[in-house]
């Protein structure tokens, strides 16, 4: 009896899956067009899955092994099942391989079940709780129906009741795995996830065989010349179709939630819920079905939306509240952790763009900062002619006088900030000690546009960027060096799209290079325990984790690493204009970070970012001092050894001016 039933069941499940897939694709196609290369993308799936995605999943060994067994077993079993039972090709080795595949899948699903016994808070419950049972139903029934096919059991084993029960279990398994995959069950992640890998909006973020590291973090520019083009995202259908596809790929593992600083601080943001809300909006409906952690302080079930309805309402509630979107510090911790390669930050900035450019609703100090940027080219509203006052006694060489220099020192808006002026003075001292040929733009420099862009004001960003690019094009220099990772990121990764290609170095990278070239010598470190805080825009955005640590090592400092450091570093709370929009939470993000510092027992935290310095130094009763790497280096400077490169001959510490 099974012989006739099986092909029908399998064909039916596949047919339903195809219908579901077509419906799902139609949901995604509600989005705006985005050009992708179809065949190249599909061909790239295996590598992107096996290398890039697995690289992320493998950070949790248990889960990665579980997934390899379950998913690998399923894919093999599904294909073989069609061949063996659907087309009746049971002869030879195929049946045996199918047995092995379903057994592997069953072993994997046991681990899935174990993880679901006491699931951590970040995992979604609801339909996800039945997934291990469905996986077992599929693998076990597949195993059982294959036994007669390979001859381990007689064809007519058991009664018709057994056959019926087996068929029922198989229908459950097929339903979850084939039907649910395209009709919106938990297995949807496999279907949408694979296509998302193929048609990702940032193909550059995947590694290549030729050794490309795969990094793409710069925001994409709005086309402001086209007056018909929408300014940001108002409704779910304003996203590009492959962004919608990305949202649909979410597997609700909650890794983003676990690392989100805003969520930890009790601000009303949960990256996982945000992505699920976008899925709800795309399909239309309310968020009542969502079975994970809510936005802190916002109960589930009160928001609803549709593909062409507003995401954020001008009044009342829609799909998402505005303060959710303004809580994000754009630290990219969620993107870094996401095994499905979803781009949360892009989506948030897209929605912010609409709120700022169309609604004029940048909260708190946002509007004032943007007005200042428009009127004075700096967020503080200071006189552009006062930009160099901090260096009145330093006689810094100006590009306007020199015309060219090897290094253009980009000061950033920290030039107006008394705390950061100490860092800048230290950096100048280091550059002079190493005989670097550098010059500054002086009053010709403007804000890089980082804050404006992340507050959604693409118009002001592009205006600042274009004027900066015009200024920079007047001068000749080999590279730009800056102590501000935000300027570093914007100049290096976001000006390119507007016509400004530069080689940009963070000052820690540049100091490390100078030290390696033997141009700097340091007195031995005499201070206490030091830890290092990775700025998001240096680390996760630009992959620079080593240079700052190398500089600290050269200073004789052994870094006491925080639990969350490197690519998992926790944000200081100052990125993405979060310090300006200042959405209230239960605690402050910099307080939590200084708590991390305290846990290492360090009495000093080295940083490499003016924002981080300001945020961390603003923590009351902190146990550690905050020093920029440039300050530590400047304080340790001694005369460079006579023979460059041989540091062992360096004399003992000499009296050094402490600026």
């Amino acid at each position: 009896m099974l012989d006739t039933l099986l092909p029908i069941l399998i064909a039916g499940a596949l047919a339903l899956a195809v219908v579901g897939a077509w419906r799902r694709v139609r949901l995604w196609r509600q989005g705006r067009p985005a050009p992708v290369s179809l065949l190249k993308g599909l061909a790239a799936i295996p590598r992107r899955y096996l290398v890039d995605l697995h690289h992320v999943v493998a950070r949790d060994k248990m889960i990665s092994n579980t997934h390899v067994a379950t998913a690998g077993g399923f894919v093999a079993a599904a294909v073989l099942m069609v061949l063996v039972h659907g087309l009746g090709l049971a002869e030879g080795i195929l049946g045996w391989v199918l047995l092995a595949a379903s057994a592997t899948m069953f072993a994997g699903s046991c681990f899935v079940a174990r993880r679901r016994r006491n699931p951590p808070a970040r995992l979604s419950k609801g339909p996800w709780m039945r997934l291990p049972k469905s996986l077992m139903a599929f693998s076990l029934s597949t195993f059982a129906i294959t036994l007669p096919a390979v001859g381990l059991l007689p064809e007519d084993f058991g009664s018709w009741i057994l056959a019926l029960v087996l068929s029922a279990v198989l229908v459950w398994g097929l339903g979850e795995m084939f039907f649910g995959m395209t009709w919106g069950g938990p297995m949807k992640h496999a279907f949408a996830g694979a296509l998302h890998l193929a048609f990702h909006r940032r193909p550059d973020r995947f590694s290549t065989k030729e050794g490309g590291e795969g990094r793409s973090t710069g925001l994409k520019a709005l086309n402001l010349d086209d007056h018909e083009a929408p300014l940001g995202v108002e409704t779910p259908s304003d996203f590009t179709w492959n962004q919608l596809l990305g949202f649909d790929a979410c597997v609700q593992c909650g890794r983003c939630e676990a690392v989100c600083p805003a969520f930890a601080a009790g601000q009303p943001l949960n990256p996982k819920k945000l992505i699920q809300d976008m899925v709800v909006g795309m399909a239309g409906g309310s968020d009542a079905e969502y079975a994970g952690s809510p936005y802190p302080g916002k109960p589930v079930g009160e928001h609803e939306g549709s593909a062409d309805g507003p995401i954020v309402a001008r009044q009342g509630k829609a799909l998402v509240d505005a303060d959710t979107l303004w809580s994000c510090t754009t630290c990219r911790a969620c993107v870094e952790e996401c095994p499905m390669m979803i781009e949360h930050v892009d989506a948030i900035v897209d929605m912010r763009r609409f709120m700022t450019l169309e609604h004029g609703n940048t909260p708190n100090k946002g509007a004032e900062v943007l007005d200042n940027l428009i009127a004075t080219d700096n967020p503080g509203g200071f006189d552009p002619g006062a930009r160099m006052h901090w260096a009145a006694d330093l006689a810094l060489p100006l590009m306007a006088d020199r015309g060219e220099a090897e290094v253009l020192l980009w000061l950033g808006d920290g030039a107006y900030d008394m705390r950061n002026q100490r860092t800048l003075r230290s950096l100048v001292k280091v550059l002079r000690a190493a005989d670097v040929d550098f010059a500054v733009l002086g009053d010709e420099e403007r804000d890089s546009g980082d804050v404006a862009r992340r507050l959604g004001d693409e118009a002001t960003f592009q205006s600042l960027a274009k004027r900066n690019i015009a200024t920079l094009s007047k001068y000749r220099f080999k590279r730009i060096v800056t102590c501000d990772p935000h300027s570093f990121h914007v100049l290096g990764n976001e000006y390119g799209e507007l016509g400004g290609e530069y080689e940009v170095r963070h000052h820690s990278t540049f100091i490390a290079e100078l030290y390696d070239a033997g141009k700097l010598a340091f007195a031995p470190w005499k201070g206490g325990r030091v830890t290092y805080h990775d700025p998001c825009y240096l680390g996760r955005y630009n992959g620079e984790f080593e240079a700052p640590r190398n500089v600290l090592k050269a200073l004789g400092i052994e870094v006491a690493e925080m639990e969350r450091s490197g690519f998992r570093s926790r944000c200081c709370g100052g990125g993405g204009g979060a310090a300006i929009t200042d959405v209230p939470g239960k605690q402050r993000i910099p307080d939590m970070r200084m708590g991390d510092v305290g846990e290492t027992g360090a009495d000093m935290v080295a940083v490499g970012c003016p924002q981080c310095t300001a945020m961390l130094e603003g923590v009351v009763d902190s146990t550690a001092e905050v020093r920029d790497i440039a300050e530590l280096v400047a304080n340790a400077l001694v005369e460079a050894p006579a023979s460059a490169g041989d540091r062992s001959q360096a004399q003992g510490p000499q009296a050094v001016e402490v600026s």
Binding site: H227, L231, A313, R314, Q315, A322, T356, L357, E358, H359, G360, N361, T362, G366, A367, L370, D371, I374, A375, T376, D377, G381, F382, D383, P384, D457, A459
Partner: protein
């Protein structure tokens, strides 16, 4: 969030629509001197937007070029579809053109900033218009509380945070003080879409202005404020103090003759009349 004020519609309900004209000028940023929406005028527009039944028309009289357009679009970005422009060459007396236009339109309420951020900046425009139209004028508003049955209840800003509630019969002209609520953010999208609709009007040359010689203001030494206050309260009062006339008196329930006598005496004392 602000309501969608893009398209104020005439409602068929019993509450009549209030016709408001907001006079807007090209401002000048105090630090960089860049063109912008003038702060006080923008506050005036914000007041107009806060009136539930108002149908507001933005009006600018003056030169029209790329710079001034950029600044005027700042007002459109507060959520307006268009702005009426009475184009005037440099050196015109815009009060004449504005007066004619207002007579023509017959709005019930005209809102303007107390003074412009550039040009003459004398703050006289509202007075000249009031004189020409014969309308009452209330200066230095902090808020418009209510408009009903042709009477507006307004709050006038006085020094040290004091307020005076006044009732004024419409049509009237009001000017806005810096104590009024700050203007909403100007959004790029509506600012770019909005249209500046130019009306051709006669220009009247400002004869007085042409006989003046203009020069940039000299920076003068500022007298240091010596705070002698002993208590925190006194120091706060000194810090929050606005310039205020020493004397002055409020006359109420006096005959017109007594009133005229008092004003005549004051003008004599101040040396306005000799």
């Amino acid at each position: 969030m602000p309501p969608d004020i893009q398209a104020p519609k005439r409602r068929a309900s019993t509450t009549p629509v209030l016709d408001v004209v907001a006079l807007v000028s090209v401002g000048r940023h105090p630090v960089t001197g860049r063109g912008r929406r003038a702060d006080l005028d923008a506050r005036g527009v914000e007041l107009a937007l806060s009136l539930p039944e108002a149908q507001t028309r933005l009006v600018h009289a003056g030169r029209y070029d790329a710079d001034s357009e950029q600044a005027l679009r700042g007002y459109l970005g507060m959520g307006f579809k268009d702005l009426t422009l009475l184009e005037q060459p440099a050196g015109s007396d815009v009060s004449v053109a504005l007066g004619e236009a207002l007579e023509d339109w017959g709005p019930q309420l005209v809102i303007a900033g107390e003074r412009a951020e550039q040009g003459e900046g004398s703050g006289m425009l509202a007075y000249l218009l009031a004189e020409r139209l014969g309308w009452p004028l209330v200066q230095g508003l902090a808020a418009i509380e209510e408009v009903s049955q042709g009477v507006a209840t307004v709050l006038q800003a006085l020094p040290r945070g004091q307020r005076r509630r006044l009732k004024v019969r419409l049509p009237a002209i009001v000017t806005v003080d810096s104590a009024a609520p700050a203007a909403r953010q100007s959004a790029f999208g509506p600012a770019r879409r909005g249209e500046c609709q130019s009306l051709t009007v006669d220009a009247c040359k400002d004869e007085a202005l042409s006989s003046w010689t203009m020069q940039p203001a000299r920076k003068r030494p500022k007298r240091l404020k010596i705070v002698k206050a002993a208590s925190a309260r006194d120091r706060f009062k000194a810090a929050a103090a606005k310039a205020e006339g020493g004397g002055g008196q409020v006359l109420s329930d006096v005959t017109p003759d007594e009133g005229a006598e008092a004003i005549y005496k004051l003008l004599k004392d101040e040396g306005v009349l000799r």
